[in-house]
């Protein structure tokens, strides 16, 4: 299985994602933002970081990078595109997934483990997982997902919500919401469910010695689904 991780100026989780993808069997290539063509890929990942310093709106400058046109075409043709953290912000800015990501409610960067509940398994990312609640890691300043009431209805009707913040029992209450996201939303799909944007970092939880191992379950399942 072939994957590509895009490096934007200011990306800083690109290596971590590369390590994780390779660990679970992907043949991964790093792709420079200034390239025009995407190598042949089964999965494209937009990694976390601070592309262009996040000095304009987070993800906004990166969404206009040269490579993004290829990524958008790839997504529109049904290819799998996953954006993690800053990658999610880039997806939002490029219009591949709906909504916006605002500054965290308490105006502080948050780095900690959270629980998320999978809302929809009818997609290549979560299909066949026999687990509902995952412990993953977040590290962001702008992860407060927001969309209009109409948009919310639409993404709910289309079953586009991928994951919710929750407690260890899977209850999605306000107290488990780390950043003020509307309805505890931690990740969403596009309509077709081939594009996934989420704030948590599965690549930081890929072995027992790190914050946890739920990331491993995610990646193992993902590569099996793509095969």
């Amino acid at each position: 299985m072939k994957s590509s991780v895009i490096t934007f100026p200011g990306s800083n989780c690109d290596r971590d994602m590369d390590v994780a993808l390779k660990k679970f069997g992907f043949n991964n290539k790093m792709v420079w933002h200034d390239d025009i063509e995407l190598p042949k890929s089964d999965l494209v990942v937009l990694p976390g970081g601070f592309s262009y310093g996040d000095y304009l709106r987070c993800g906004s400058m990166a969404s206009k990078s040269k490579i993004m046109q290829s990524v958008i075409n790839f997504a529109k043709s049904g290819g799998l595109v996953m954006g993690i953290c800053n990658g999610f912000q880039i997806l939002v800015e490029s219009g591949l997934v709906p909504g916006v990501l605002l500054r965290n409610k308490y105006l502080e960067f948050i780095c900690k483990n959270v629980f998320v509940k999978i809302n929809n398994k009818d997609n290549p990312y979560f299909k066949n997982l026999n687990k509902e609640v995952f412990e993953l890691h977040i590290a962001h300043n702008e992860g407060n997902y927001f969309c209009t009431r109409d948009q919310l209805k639409e993404i709910e009707d289309n079953n586009q919500i991928a994951i919710y913040y929750c407690n260890d029992n899977g209850e999605t209450k306000e107290i488990s919401n780390p950043n003020g996201s509307i309805n505890n939303i931690a990740g969403i799909f596009n309509k077709e469910k081939n594009v996934l944007g989420m704030m948590p970092h599965p690549e930081r939880m890929i072995d027992q010695s790190l914050s946890g191992e739920d990331g491993s379950i995610f990646f193992k399942n993902l590569i099996n689904n793509i095969k």
Binding site: P9, G10, N12, R15, G53, E108, R204, L210
Partner: protein, 729 residues
């Protein structure tokens, strides 16, 4: 502008220093030259008050690849790998402008590390604020934490540890010390020594602006009521550019184009160019029209003294300019050939085709002033004799509650959750433990790092305090199973022109030196920050020690959380009941006098090495050193972290319960072992003549102190975690 004694004094120089400049030059300097002298001869850059004493530090050892004198120290961690590390202060700017001051402190120390070819892999910090009641404290704390996070998070380097304290002596002068560790191959280390004639001198990174002019001079003076006017001397950070600079430099360093490289930190282009030339015993020629400037009409004086961030100076091999330029173009960074190395041994500056400065480099460096300041020796204060009746009204549960919710003990989660501590995917011990631990990427090794200081002990008796901080650093590394290798020190003191403050400095350095020599724990880098003083009021002497150690097999790493019910809990090291200068004495008994606990270096070494042996033999389950707040505080943290309780035995000691539980005797640890391992553990400890005693057994949910005293772990947790959150919200 005419230069005279008055102008020199306005530049922070002393009248006699100005006369010395005129004598050495055999003429009056022009204004640009005076600016250069003031930048090179201030305390921050010249170490004029400290040099004499810093020579006494213990800096050598088998694992030391590079000691003090370079951008950072370097130690050997085997298999061809090395760790580059250093701690540095950014105190004065952080008080004036907390966000930018702290952010650029973090940026500066990371540059020091990647200048040497190392990729930064971990950040730590030691930050000290005034009393929580002081009206400035909250905003300063918030600003500093945001600044540290803002820079480190964007760089994608995990912040794995730190220390925060509050003390009224920092009301007018907060401390922000930032430490970075980088990883490099032993044969790919870069140094700042220029070599060869007519080699191109390259400027890369951000453009030069008017920010930070005289920053280093500002950091070499006391504060007064006019500090607000000094805001323009604080630099502005751009972590995004630094991230690009890091990647571009490492890309260039993978080849063989670089002869020497130096970051433009304090005193900017002035000190970086002069240092490189001085180390190579060369001259340097710079055409200031070639320096990329952000603002129009910058004068040579401003260009030379700007402390704009994210800039590097490189001496390249001839003919490598195009290759280097291509890399910096790729990363969208400025690149300019601004000069060359010469055999004049002078720094020569040109502007609009005219020579505008010409100074022999040895005058600026070797001939810079060095002072043997007057200093006062401290006497060891007399011990307090606490009468029995002062304990009789105390309830142990109330005391414990007060201690673990004290600002200097309480959980600092509010702070470290704002730092990305897991990026790079190798953080195996997060902040909140005895040391932060990161794996050496792709290997079985891990590096542990901690930063410590004990201003109260140093204030009570500097010599003992100096020793104690080194010992504490050593213990924090051992507690996670790491073999301590070396330290970096950031020496924060008041004015060296005050005999008491200077005495504190001299004796703390002596203490650090003695302990590091005995423990074979050499100092490889560091910096001195004097003038942490507002008018007549100096800070408590605060040497911060950053310790680094190696864990050969990261699976053997130790943590402090209690693991399993029914396991036994032992104390290693003897409890004598030393209460003077303990948190208990200060906040419960309101007694501020007396000597700090004695540091017995033989016991430190023996107890530490014995504990490492137990860890190596897989005999223990958790470990934690006993420091501020004594035994009961340490046990509380182990309970909270492991979500377990403990039933304590009745202490066998003759001293009263409060002295036993809250004394701050040194050289002690708490360990958890399985009951079946007790015999073997006892045997090893007895053989090594290490004092040890069983203190209790792990149970569920509660801490049972005696028949009458029981407290739930949830209760302890809320005392411990709530203070800082409530304070900040």
């Amino acid at each position: 502008m005419l230069v005279n004694e008055k102008v020199a004094i306005e530049h922070g120089l002393k009248a006699e220093e100005y006369r010395k400049i005129c004598d050495l030059l055999k003429r009056v300097p022009n204004i640009t030259e005076l600016g250069i002298f003031s930048a090179m001869w201030n305390e921050h850059c010249s170490y004029k008050s400290s040099r004499l004493h810093l020579k006494k530090l213990h800096t050598k050892g088998k694992k030391v690849i590079q000691g003090p004198g370079e951008n950072a120290g370097v130690i050997d961690i085997e298999d061809g790998d090395a760790i580059v590390f250093k701690i540095e202060s950014h105190n004065h700017p952080s008080f004036i402008e907390p966000y930018q001051g702290a952010a650029t402190g973090v940026g500066g120390i990371m540059r020091d590390v990647f200048t040497m070819g190392a990729r930064p892999i971990a950040n730590l910090n030691s930050i000290h604020f005034g009393s929580p009641q002081n009206k400035k404290t909250k905003n300063l704390l918030r600003g500093v934490v945001h600044g540290i996070g803002g820079y480190g998070n964007c760089m994608g380097v995990p912040t794995i540890g730190g220390q925060t304290s509050f003390d009224s002596s920092y009301n007018g002068n907060i401390l922000v010390n930032a430490m970075t560790l980088g990883l490099v191959k032993k044969n790919k280390i870069f140094y700042s020594k220029a070599a060869g004639l007519n080699k191109p001198v390259i400027y890369v990174g951000s453009k030069t602006g008017r920010d930070g002019i005289h920053g280093a001079s500002m950091a070499s003076a006391n504060f007064d009521e006019k500090i607000e006017e000094k805001k323009p001397t604080v630099q502005v950070g751009d972590p995004f550019t630094e991230k690009l600079l890091l990647e571009a430099c490492l890309e260039l360093m993978s080849g063989d184009s670089i002869i020497a490289i130096q970051d433009m930190g304090a005193a900017g282009l002035t000190s970086s160019s002069i240092e490189m030339a001085s180390k190579g015993n060369l001259g340097i020629e710079i055409n200031l029209n070639k320096v990329p400037c952000r603002e129009t009409k910058m004068t040579p004086y401003e260009i030379m003294l700007s402390e704009s961030q994210e800039r590097m100076l490189i001496v390249l091999e001839n003919g490598k300019e195009d290759l280097a330029k291509k890399i910096f173009d790729k990363w969208n960074l400025d690149f300019a050939v601004i000069g060359k190395t010469t055999n004049s041994k002078n720094i020569e500056l040109f502007f609009n085709e005219k020579q505008i400065a010409n100074i022999p480099i040895n005058i600026l460096v070797e001939k810079s002033p060095m002072y043997d300041r007057k200093w006062k020796k401290s006497k060891l204060p007399k011990k307090n004799r606490f009468k029995k009746n002062i304990f009789s009204n105390l309830k142990i549960k109330d005391v414990l509650k007060k201690i673990i919710s004290n600002p200097n003990i309480c959980s600092k989660e509010w702070i470290w959750q704002q730092y990305d501590h897991t990026v790079m995917g190798d953080t195996i011990q997060k902040p909140g433990g005895d040391s932060g631990v990161i794996r050496v990427h792709g290997t079985d090794k891990a590096v542990a790092a901690t930063v410590d200081s004990s201003a109260v002990y140093c204030w009570a008796h500097p010599l003992t305090g100096g020793k104690q901080v080194v010992a504490e650093s050593w213990r924090n590394l051992i507690s996670v199973g790491a073999t301590p290798i070396a330290i970096t020190n950031c020496l924060n003191f008041g004015s060296p022109e005050n005999e008491d403050n200077m005495g504190e400095f001299v004796e703390c350095v002596e203490g650090i030196s003695e302990a590091s020599k005995y423990l074979n724990f050499p100092v490889v880098s560091g910096n001195v920050s004097f003038y942490n003083q507002t008018k007549e009021m100096g800070i408590k002497p605060t040497p911060s020690i950053g310790g680094v150690g190696l864990i050969k097999n990261y699976k053997k790493m130790m943590t402090m959380d209690f693991k399993d019910i029914d396991n036994l809990v032992l104390i290693i090291g003897k409890t004598e009941g030393h209460l003077d200068q303990s948190l208990f004495a200060r906040i419960i008994l309101d007694e501020k006098n007396g000597p700090p606990p004695e540091v017995n270096l033989f016991n430190e070494k023996n107890n530490g090495i014995s504990l490492l042996d137990l860890i190596e033999k897989d005999l223990i389950k958790s470990a934690h050193d006993i420091s501020l707040g004594g035994i009961l505080t340490a046990l509380t943290k182990m309970c909270i972290k492991g979500n377990k309780g403990i039933k304590l035995n009745k202490p066998k000691n003759l001293i009263n319960g409060f002295s036993y539980f809250f004394a701050e005797d040194q050289g002690r640890y708490i360990i958890e072992i399985e009951p079946k391992k007790l015999k073997e553990v006892n045997k090893i400890l007895d053989k090594n003549s290490v004092h040890h005693e069983e203190i209790g057994v792990i149970i569920k949910n509660d801490m049972i102190i005696d028949e009458k005293t029981k407290v739930t772990i949830d209760e302890l947790k809320s005392y411990n975690t709530n203070w800082l959150r409530n304070f900040m919200n």
